[in-house]
């Protein structure tokens, strides 16, 4: 199948306007005749479900958590970008568009990114009107701060809890529609299969996580806003429940998976402290504004950091990148941390950590000033590690925290299955090979509030889905598929827990398809993943019953999907013989160790088609064209 992104042509500024004008509309009186399923209640899912409900559609909203308010968007700290130009520092929609395309290392679609920048402005207005308590100046106007990858101040924030406040805004809008009877809410449900009838997405099969019952839901369109797949690495900054099951099972029903190897690693997380560790905690990158990053010059130097004199310290980022220093972008900072740790100069337990030292700033500005700026982060660090950052340097290490890859969608956010729409982190569309800070929240809300409500209508008006009901054999076939997976998992009765497999899988993926990759290791990783997957299906132990609240069973299904996805990630990383953004292939670097992109051969989106278990995926390429932002090599020296 040829991939048609359906990007409208013409001047980029008017593409979205024209697309909206050309869309077919559903008569207001007919909207209530259409049922739309929205899976996931993060920023994208909740905003989409609320907005569709307001328009008059009948919406069914699903989440696996006990409440829609728990979706992992809630944990985003930093902020949300918007081209408001309130600070009068020269920002514009075009500049935000430009920064995002460049930040994505020229692997995103220009039309989509421009639309994202355009919508950013309305998002802030909408959220303010909903009561999101953004930071304010004394005059009562909205406050802005700057963030990585941009030279203007365009980030809006609500203390360190911007994601929480934006999500609560969308959640409250959603609950308003629940009260109005427009949205029916299904919490504690996990989507386990997509139902495709006559080539179009027409429903889902869910498991009620309390009773274990499998339930069928029919609709005229299905929307997935189920987030990213960072938990494939086991240790990540994602929530424990975040998973790829909804998108992976849709993928197996025919939705192409795009750029799976594009994953983002955040440089400032609290390092792993032991084998029992269940997740990693991110600390705001703002610490790099005043902190200096260093390791001991000699490998194996076990002295306490305070005891290491200045001449024995290596401030490696300042040395290597004199103009950006400690403020180099996320991928560069992360890779260099790995490099010094690989040289045996890492600090802390296991040698996987570098110092983030604010003692110079404390001396220069005083402890009070630092407390004002970073007090809450210091507290969080102390709570987790037991160390006091006012007295001893913090230890940090990179961790996975966002996945740019996801299900392939066209300009209208529709996947390769008609009627299946994918929004937010679950799709691949806007961030290319690297996402800039404060852009994830923007994309989730742009998709949910301002794009999907129109494009779903356009689809329904044109496709005019025929009536379908739960008696269709496709529902029974999908349920049988889910049932067989569950029964297989429950019947193995092996000797290892699901978590022990997940942890081992995560380590393989992290070591070989993490911060830096090479063909040899990727090949080997595929072999190891296959072996482990085989063992999984022979030796996993899932206790309890299928018709009961069973957290081991929930995890078992998700990990089964992570096995399959991780193999595709490695395949994709192998295929992409270049370095770009978060994808660093050791074979493709400049003489001084920087990423070397290959625009002649790899300026495309890699969209993978599932062809059956055991059969290799088929690769389809969507060429990327850059009319407005000319591809250039990034340099931070």
């Amino acid at each position: 199948m040829a991939l048609d992104a359906k990007s409208p042509g013409g001047p980029i500024e008017s593409r979205w306007d024209r697309a909206r004008f050309e869309m077919k509309l559903v008569n207001p009186a007919n909207k209530r005749k259409h049922t739309i399923i929205v899976v996931g209640t993060g920023l994208a899912g909740a905003s989409a479900a609320a907005s569709l409900g307001e328009l008059g559609y009948k919406v069914k909203s699903f989440c696996f958590q006990d409440s829609p308010r728990r979706a992992h968007s809630i944990a985003a700290q930093g902020g949300i970008n918007a081209a408001k130009n309130y600070p009068n520092d020269g920002d514009s929609v075009f500049r935000l568009f430009y920064d995002t395309v460049k930040g994505g290392d020229f692997r995103a679609r220009e039309s989509n990114v421009y639309r994202l920048a355009h919508n950013s402005v309305s998002i802030i207005d909408q959220c303010v009107a909903q009561g999101v308590p953004f930071a304010r100046e004394y005059g009562g106007t909205l406050s802005n701060r700057s963030f990585g990858g941009a030279q203007v101040s365009r980030t809006f924030y609500a203390r360190g809890q911007t994601g929480q406040q934006l999500l609560l805004g969308a959640y409250q809008a959603l609950e308003r529609q629940v009260e109005a009877g427009q949205v029916e809410m299904f919490p504690r449900r996990e989507m386990l299969d997509l139902v495709v009838i006559d080539g179009a997405a027409r429903g889902i099969v869910t498991r009620n996580l309390v009773t274990g019952q499998l339930e069928h839901h029919v609709a005229d369109a299905v929307v997935l806003g189920t987030g990213g797949y960072g938990n494939v690495y086991y240790l990540s900054t994602n929530a424990k429940g975040s998973n790829c099951t909804a998108i992976w099972r849709a993928h197996k029903r025919g939705a192409y998976f795009a750029n799976p190897c594009f994953t983002q690693i955040h440089p400032t997380c609290i390092p792993v402290s032991g084998d029992y560790q269940s997740k990693l905690t991110l600390m705001s990158e703002s610490l790099r504004n005043d902190g200096r990053i260093w390791v001991p010059k000699t490998p194996g130097d076990k002295r306490r950091p305070e005891a290491i004199p200045e001449q024995d310290r290596d401030y490696y980022l300042e040395q290597k990148y004199p103009s950006f220093g400690n403020l180099v972008p996320r991928d560069v900072a992360s890779r260099n941390a790995k490099l010094v740790c690989d040289q045996g100069r890492g600090v802390g337990p296991g040698g996987l950590g570098v110092y983030l030292d604010l003692s110079d700033a404390i001396r220069r500005l005083g402890e009070d000033k630092i407390r004002e700026r970073y007090g809450n982060l210091f507290e969080m660090y102390e709570r987790i590690t037991g160390d006091d950052p006012y007295k001893t340097p913090m230890r940090i290490y990179p961790a996975i925290h966002y996945t740019m890859g996801g299900l392939w969608v066209d300009y209208y956010l529709m996947s390769t299955i008609p009627g299946l729409f994918v929004i937010g982190e679950a799709n691949f569309s806007d961030h290319g090979a690297n996402r800039l800070g404060a852009s994830a929240l923007m994309q989730g809300l742009s998709d949910g509030y301002f794009i999907l409500p129109y494009t779903v209508g356009n689809y329904l008006a044109q496709a005019k889905p025929a009536p379908a009901d739960l008696s269709h054999p496709a529902f029974h076939e999908a349920e049988a598929n889910v049932r067989s997976i569950t029964e297989r998992l429950m019947s193995i009765e092996g000797s290892r827990s699901v978590d022990s497999f997940h942890r081992e899988l995560g380590k393989i993926v992290w070591d070989n398809c993490g911060m830096s990759r090479n063909a040899h290791d990727l090949e080997r990783a595929i072999g190891k993943i296959r072996e482990l997957r085989q063992e999984y299906w022979q030796n996993v132990r899932v206790l309890g019953a299928a018709d009961d609240l069973n957290q081991s069973l929930e995890k078992a299904g998700r990990v089964a999907d992570f096995f399959e996805l991780s193999e595709l990630m490695c395949r994709d990383a192998l295929e992409r013989n270049e370095s770009c953004g978060g994808h660093f292939r050791e074979e493709y670097q400049t003489p001084d160790g920087e990423a070397r992109r290959n625009d002649d051969e790899f300026s495309y989106v890699a969209a993978w088609q599932y062809q059956g278990d055991g059969a290799p995926h088929a690769l389809h390429k969507e060429p990327l064209e850059f009319e407005y932002v000319h591809p250039s090599q990034r340099s931070y020296k």
Partner: protein, 248 residues
């Protein structure tokens, strides 16, 4: 490090539960309370016993999923800390801990340490929002909001909906939770038009759900991991009273 854990085990909402004693070894001071349960669960699975079910998700104190009573205290002994961020260094080797689910009529136990908190969603649905359909908002700076009001609104909006306030309250009142939302939205000019209806409807729903009444004991404030202040209850009462008078 080792802990003696007495944990509430209950198969499902319909069956009776009981405390079961476990000896959890192989722990260390850097672990969180939930990681200690992870370790215990791994041991249980090895032995062929069903693991302890507990709610959790972000494990960084913001999603509000986790929480249980630890020796009778919601989220345990460390102030301003959710269960997922409570590390074992606050306990001594060999300590004996009693872990129980939130106890409240409006929060029925579903299994082990998991309760049903959907009553909170219904309180929000009754009026915990500003009615502004997508697309109908004026420019973000059209209505200035004084900084102190925005800051106080943010203080109240920090609620994570974990339910510790209800669990800590001898009356199992939902006052801190409901008051936090009424205060957050009521302080902002955008929330003003619906201020009175909101207070009436949310409080009515709170009563319908079977939560108790507030008698100003202040246990909720002490238990709240996000530091929501009792002031929000006063704010709610003021709005509720004014709304009731107006309605008459």
């Amino acid at each position: 490090m080792k802990l003696i854990l007495h944990i509430w085990r209950q198969k499902n909402a319909a069956s009776a539960g009981r405390m079961v004693r476990y000896e959890a070894g192989d722990l260390n001071a850097d672990m969180s309370m939930l990681e200690a349960l992870d370790v215990l669960n791994e041991r249980l699975i090895e032995k062929g016993e069903e693991p302890v079910a507990f709610e959790h998700d972000c494990r960084e104190g913001i999603c509000g999923s986790c929480g249980f009573m630890i020796n009778g205290v919601a989220h345990g002994p460390q102030r301003l800390t959710t269960t997922c961020q409570l590390t074992l260094r606050h306990f001594k080797d060999g300590d004996e801990l009693y872990l129980e689910p939130w106890r409240a009529k409006a929060f029925p136990v579903l299994k082990d340490l998991i309760v049903d908190r959907s009553a909170f969603d219904r309180i929000i649905a009754a009026g915990g929002y500003i009615s502004v359909p997508t697309g109908s908002a004026p420019d973000g700076n059209a209505i200035p909001v004084p900084k102190d009001k925005a800051d106080r609104a943010m203080d109240a909006a920090a609620c994570i909906g974990c339910g510790a306030c209800v669990a800590a309250c001898p009356n199992a009142a939902a006052a801190l939770f409901t008051g936090a939302k009424i205060t957050h939205l009521g302080l902002l000019p955008q929330g003003e038009p619906e201020r009175h209806e909101r207070a009436l409807n949310m409080v009515a729903q709170w009563n319908l759900e079977g939560f108790g009444s507030c008698t100003n004991l202040g246990e909720c404030e002490a238990a709240c991991p996000k530091g929501i202040r009792l002031e929000v209850i006063a704010h709610m009462n003021r709005d509720y009273l004014a709304a009731s008078c107006r309605r008459r």
